[in-house]
C-alpha cells in the first residue's frame, strides 16, 4: 500500500509541469536524432498545441514559447512499446473468451511501471491483456503519464488479444478448438439474430435496450452489421441494426469486419499455423500482429508468407539444446525476421534495465545496422500500432514527444534527462528522487527512516514489480 502512495507522490511531483504547461515548448538540443533523415546538430524543435510544428537547425521560435535549453543533450523520439501487459491491476482474466472486457478498467495509472517507463524513455505503450486467454479483452495505447486513464489515452480500442498458446493446464488442441469455436458461435449467433428479425422477434432489440444502449445513435455512427472479409458470411446480416448485437459478441464482429486490430500470441512455432488459420478464416489477417515467443523464429517462413508484422519476445536470443549432442544452439531472433523480410518490433524485458534502448543496442551488438535496430523501437512499432503519423519520429505534425538524453540513445552510460510529452516536460532526472536512490543509493527523503539498514518501503516497492512478473503466461515455456 505504501508503495502505491509513494508512486503517487512521485508522480504528483512530476506532474506539476503538465498541469501548468500548455503544450507549447521549444527545445534547443545539441543533437537531434529525428528517425526521419539525417541527425541535426545544434537544432531546435518547436511544439505547439502538443504537436511538433518545426524541427531543424534554422528554426524560428515564436517569441512567447518557453525554451528548454538542452544544448548539451541529444534529442530523440520517445521509444514505442508495440505490445506489453504491464501496468495493469492483473493482466489475465479468468474467462476464456472475453473480448467485451476493456483494459481501460484494469490500467493502474500510478503503477510503478509507468513511472519507470518515463525513466527509460518509453513514451507510447500499447497495453494489452496477458496471453493466458483464448480471446482476451481490448487493449489501448497510452502514454505513461497522467493521473487517470483518460489523461493517459493515446488511442482507445487498440486491438483484441488472442492466444494460440494454451492457457496453463490446457492442451494445444483444446486451445485451437476454443479459438475456432468462438467464431463459429459468433456466426451462429448472427444467423439466429437474422432469423429472429425475419420472424419478427424483437428480443434482441429489447436486450440491447436493457443493456442501456442508444440504438439510433449507434446505427447512425457505425452503420449496420455486415460481413467483413471472412471466409464465412451470414446472409441478410444487413437487416440487423448494429446496436442490437449483444455487447459480448460485438467486439468479435468488429474483429471479423476488420474494424479492430488483433494481437495474436504464439508461445511456440506450432502455434503460428493456428493463429494464421484463425485470422485468415475469419477475415482479420490484415489487422493481425503476432506476438511471439523467441522459439517462433522457426515459423518465420510461414509468417513472411502471411505478410503479418510481429512483436518479438524480450528474450532476443533463443537458446536450445541439441537433443543428440547436448550442444547449445543460439539463434538471434531479430536477425532471422530481418532476413525473411518480416516487419518486427522489439519489446522491453520486464527488467527495466533491459528496456527498448537495450534491446536495440543488443541488435547492433549482434551485427545488425543501427538504423534497423532503432527503427524496431520507434517507427516500426508506431506503424504497427497505426500511429505512424503521430509518434516514432521527430517530424512536423507529429506528437511532441521528445527524449533528451545525456548521450547516444544506445549507450549504456546515457541517461534520459528529460521527457517531453505532447509539449509538456513530464520527467526531469534532476528531480527523480527514486532514480537518485537507484543510482547513488541516496535514500529519498521521507521514504525511510535515516540510517535504517532495510527501509521496508523498498521491499514493498519490489513486490509491486514482482506482482507484474507473470505477464505472458506461456511465454517460452515449451
Amino acid at each position: 500500500m505504501r508503495s502505491t502512495i509513494q508512486s503517487a507522490l512521485a508522480l504528483t511531483l512530476l506532474a506539476a509541469p503538465l498541469l501548468a504547461g500548455d503544450g507549447r515548448l521549444a527545445i534547443r538540443a545539441g543533437k537531434i536524432i529525428t528517425q526521419a533523415g539525417e541527425a541535426i546538430i545544434d537544432g531546435t524543435i518547436v511544439i505547439e498545441n502538443g504537436r511538433i510544428t518545426a524541427v531543424g537547425a534554422e528554426v524560428e521560435v515564436p517569441w512567447d514559447v518557453e525554451v528548454l535549453d538542452a544544448t548539451h543533450l541529444t534529442a530523440f523520439p520517445g521509444f514505442v512499446e508495440a505490445h506489453g501487459n504491464r501496468g495493469m491491476d492483473r493482466p489475465n482474466e479468468n474467462i476464456d473468451v472475453a473480448p467485451f472486457l476493456n483494459i481501460r478498467d484494469s490500467i493502474d495509472p500510478v503503477n510503478f511501471y509507468f513511472e519507470d517507463s518515463l525513466r527509460w524513455g518509453v513514451t507510447t505503450i500499447n497495453v494489452q491483456q496477458g496471453a493466458s486467454c483464448v480471446i482476451g479483452g481490448q487493449g489501448m495505447v497510452v502514454k505513461p503519464f497522467g493521473m487517470t486513464v483518460e489523461e493517459m489515452l493515446v488511442r482507445p480500442a487498440s486491438g483484441i488479444k488472442l492466444s494460440a498458446s494454451p492457457k496453463s493446464g490446457k492442451s494445444r488442441a483444446t486451445q485451437a478448438q476454443a479459438l475456432r469455436k468462438a467464431f463459429t458461435e459468433l456466426e451462429h449467433y448472427l444467423a439466429g439474430l437474422v432469423q429472429k428479425q425475419k420472424d419478427g422477434d424483437d428480443s434482441a432489440r429489447r436486450e440491447a435496450l436493457y443493456q442501456g444502449r442508444d440504438l439510433d445513435s449507434e446505427e447512425a455512427r457505425e452503420g449496420r452489421a455486415q460481413a467483413g472479409s471472412a471466409a464465412w458470411t451470414v446472409a441478410d446480416l444487413e437487416l440487423i441494426p448494429r446496436g442490437e448485437i449483444d455487447e459480448k459478441q460485438a467486439p468479435l464482429l468488429d474483429l471479423v469486419e476488420g474494424r479492430i486490430p488483433a494481437w495474436f500470441y504464439c508461445g511456440a512455432p506450432m502455434d503460428v499455423r493456428v493463429a494464421l488459420e484463425v485470422a485468415r478464416k475469419n477475415g482479420f489477417l490484415a489487422q493481425t500482429t503476432l506476438v511471439l515467443a523467441s522459439s517462433c523464429w522457426k515459423a518465420a517462413d510461414e509468417i513472411a508468407e502471411a505478410g503479418v508484422p510481429v512483436v518479438l519476445s524480450a528474450a532476443l536470443m533463443h537458446i536450445e539444446r541439441d537433443p543428440v549432442t547436448g550442444e547449445e544452439i543460439e539463434t538471434f531472433v531479430p536477425k532471422v525476421f530481418k532476413e525473411k523480410g518480416v516487419r518486427y518490433a522489439l519489446a522491453s524485458s520486464n527488467q527495466s534495465t533491459q528496456s527498448l534502448w537495450f534491446q536495440a543496442a543488443s541488435c547492433v551488438a549482434q551485427g545488425m545496422s543501427r538504423a534497423e535496430a532503432l527503427a524496431a523501437v520507434t517507427t516500426v512499432p508506431a506503424d504497427i500500432l497505426g500511429l505512424g503519423k503521430r509518434v516514432g519520429s521527430l517530424e512536423k505534425g507529429k506528437d511532441g514527444n521528445v527524449l533528451l538524453l545525456s548521450g547516444d540513445p544506445l549507450s549504456v552510460t546515457s541517461f534520459v534527462e528529460y521527457v517531453v510529452l505532447e509539449g509538456s516536460t513530464v520527467y526531469d532526472r534532476s528531480k527523480d528522487v527514486r532514480m537518485r536512490h537507484l543510482l547513488e543509493g541516496e535514500t529519498p527523503e521521507g521514504t525511510a527512516p535515516a540510517g535504517s539498514e532495510e527501509p521496508k518501503v523498498h521491499e514493498h516497492e519490489d513486490e509491486v514489480v514482482t506482482e507484474e512478473e507473470p505477464v505472458d503466461a506461456g511465454e517460452d515455456k515449451e
Binding site: A315, L316, M317, R321, V324, T325, G326, E327, E328, E330, S349, Q351, S352, T353, Q354, W357, F358, A361, S362, V364, A365, Q366, G367, R370, L410, S411, V412, T413, H437, L438, L439, E440, G441, E453, E454, H458, E459, E461, D462, V465
Partner: protein
C-alpha cells in the same frame, strides 16, 4: 541415424564436438585489432597478439593477423560463478567444513560452462552453495577445455569459502524433544552464524597455541589464519559485511593471524567502505539488480556501488553469478558498473586483473602479456558497450568462438 553415430563416436574419442573444422585444434594464431586493451590502462592501438601452444608469445603494435577484430581484451575472470550442483555441492551434515573441496562436486559436462565461455568468461572461481557457515574450499578453473575438472583447474583450494547472513542458518531449527536430524542445531540466527565462525577459529587457534592435536578441519582454518589462502565470505547486507570485517579484526587482535578477506556478493559494501579499507578486504559485487534489491537478504546495490568502491581504493571484482541470459552476463555487468560511473579501465580491471589477483592466478591470467595463458576475448566494438559483444573467444590458444563466422 548415421550422423548421430559419427558424432557420438567423435565425442567418445575426445575430439571437440560439433564443428569439425581443423581450426578447432589449431593453437597458433595471430590476431590483429584496432585496440588491444592489454591490461587496465594499457592500450595498444592498431596492434596484434600472437599466441602459440596455449600461451601469448607476442604483443605489440602493427603486425597482421589471421583474424582482425575491433578490440581485444584478456579473457574475463569471474570470482563467483555459481555453477555447482546446488545442495550436493556443500556437506550440510556439519556447519563447519574447512577441508571439503567443491571441486569434487562439479559437473564439467554442464552446458552452463559453455555459456560463460561464449560470453568471454574464461576463468572462474566456484564456491560451495551458501548453506553452511564454512562451506569448504573453492577451485579456480577454466570454463572450457577437456571435460574434466582436474584438467581445467588453474588453482586448487584457491580460497576457504563461507557465508554470513541469513543463508547459513536456513533449514536449521531448535531442538524440541529429541533431535530428528542434524538440522536440529545452531545457528538459527545471524548471531548464531557469527558465533559459529568465532568458535571454529578460536578452537583451532587455541588448540594450536596449546599444542593439542590438530584435525584436518582445524588445519584448514589455521591455514587461513596463516594467510595461505584468502577467506571468501558471502555477505550481502551491511550488517553482515561489518560482521565479516570485525571478525577478521578480532582474529588479528587475538594474535591468531591476519586473514586475507574477500567479501563476496557485497551488495551493500558501498554503504560503509571504511571497514573494508581498514581490513584491506577485497570485494566481489553481485550482478546489478534492475530495481535496487537482490539476494537472500534483499540487500540494496546502488548503480554507483562499483564507482564508489573504486574511488575508496578497495580491490573490486564484478560478477554475474553465472547468469544464464546473454543480457546479464559479465560483460554486461561491466557496462552497468560504467553506467553507475565506473571508468572503463576500472571496469576492465574488475572483470580481469583484479579478480585474478584476488584468487592468486594473475601470473597466468587476467591480462594480455607474453607468457600468460592465451585466453582472449575478441570484440566487435568497444568492450562492455551495449552495442558490442564478444564475437570471438580463445581459450589457451584454441579458437572456441570464431569471429569469422559472424556475418
Amino acid at each position: 541415424m548415421i550422423p548421430t553415430l559419427l558424432l557420438t563416436l567423435a565425442t567418445a574419442a575426445n575430439l571437440a564436438p560439433v564443428t569439425g573444422t581443423q581450426d578447432d585444434e589449431r593453437t597458433r594464431w595471430s590476431i590483429h585489432a584496432e585496440k588491444i586493451y592489454a591490461a587496465p590502462g594499457e592500450l595498444i592501438e592498431n596492434g596484434s597478439v600472437r599466441v602459440d601452444a596455449g600461451k601469448i608469445t607476442r604483443l605489440g603494435s602493427g603486425g597482421g593477423g589471421d583474424i582482425s577484430v575491433y578490440a581485444i581484451t584478456a579473457g574475463l575472470v569471474d570470482a563467483s560463478v555459481r555453477i555447482h550442483e546446488d545442495r550436493l555441492s556443500v556437506e550440510e551434515s556439519s556447519e563447519i567444513q574447512p577441508a571439503l573441496r567443491v571441486a569434487d562436486t562439479l559437473d564439467p559436462f554442464s552446458h552452463l560452462w559453455q555459456r560463460q565461455l561464449r560470453s568471454g568468461v574464461t576463468t572462474v572461481m566456484v564456491s560451495p552453495l551458501d548453506r553452511n557457515v564454512v562451506g569448504g574450499l573453492s577451485v579456480v578453473l577454466k570454463t572450457g577445455g577437456p571435460e574434466n575438472i582436474a584438467a581445467r583447474t588453474v588453482a586448487v583450494d584457491a580460497a576457504l569459502c563461507g557465508a554470513i547472513g541469513s543463508s547459513p542458518s536456513r533449514g536449521n531449527h531448535a531442538v524440541y524433544g529429541l533431535p530428528t536430524d542434524f538440522f536440529s542445531r545452531r545457528p538459527t540466527t545471524r548471531m548464531g552464524v557469527e558465533w559459529e565462525w568465532r568458535r571454529a577459529f578460536y578452537d583451532a587457534a587455541l588448540a594450536q597455541r596449546h599444542g593439542a592435536e590438530l584435525d584436518e578441519d582445524a588445519r584448514g582454518l589455521l591455514q587461513v589464519l596463516a594467510g595461505v589462502r584468502p577467506l571468501f565470505i558471502q555477505a550481502w547486507a551491511t550488517q553482515d559485511i561489518r560482521t565479516a570485517a570485525f571478525f577478521v579484526e578480532e582474529m588479528a587482535r587475538e594474535d591468531f593471524g591476519q586473514i586475507r578477506l574477500i567479501v563476496d556478493a557485497a551488495a551493500e559494501a558501498w554503504k560503509e567502505p571504511a571497514f573494508l579499507v581498514r581490513t584491506g578486504a577485497g570485494v566481489v559485487l553481485p550482478p546489478f539488480p534492475h530495481n535496487g534489491r537482490s539476494g537472500p537478504d534483499r540487500a540494496f546495490t546502488a548503480w554507483s556501488s562499483a564507482a564508489q568502491l573504486h574511488a575508496a581504493g578497495i580491490p573490486l571484482a564484478l560478477s554475474s553469478h553465472g547468469a544464464q541470459s546473454p543480457a546479464d552476463r559479465l560483460d554486461r555487468q561491466a557496462g552497468y558498473a560504467m553506467r553507475g560511473g565506473l571508468p572503463f579501465d576500472a571496469a576492465l580491471a574488475a572483470v580481469t586483473l583484479t579478480p585474478a589477483r584476488m584468487l592468486g592466478v594473475d601470473e597466468s591470467v587476467g591480462s594480455i602479456a607474453v607468457g600468460k595463458d592465451a585466453d582472449l576475448v575478441l570484440w566487435n566494438g568497444e568492450p562492455f558497450a551495449a552495442t558490442s559483444r564478444a564475437v570471438g573467444v580463445l581459450l589457451e590458444g584454441r579458437l572456441i568462438v570464431d569471429p569469422r563466422e559472424e556475418n
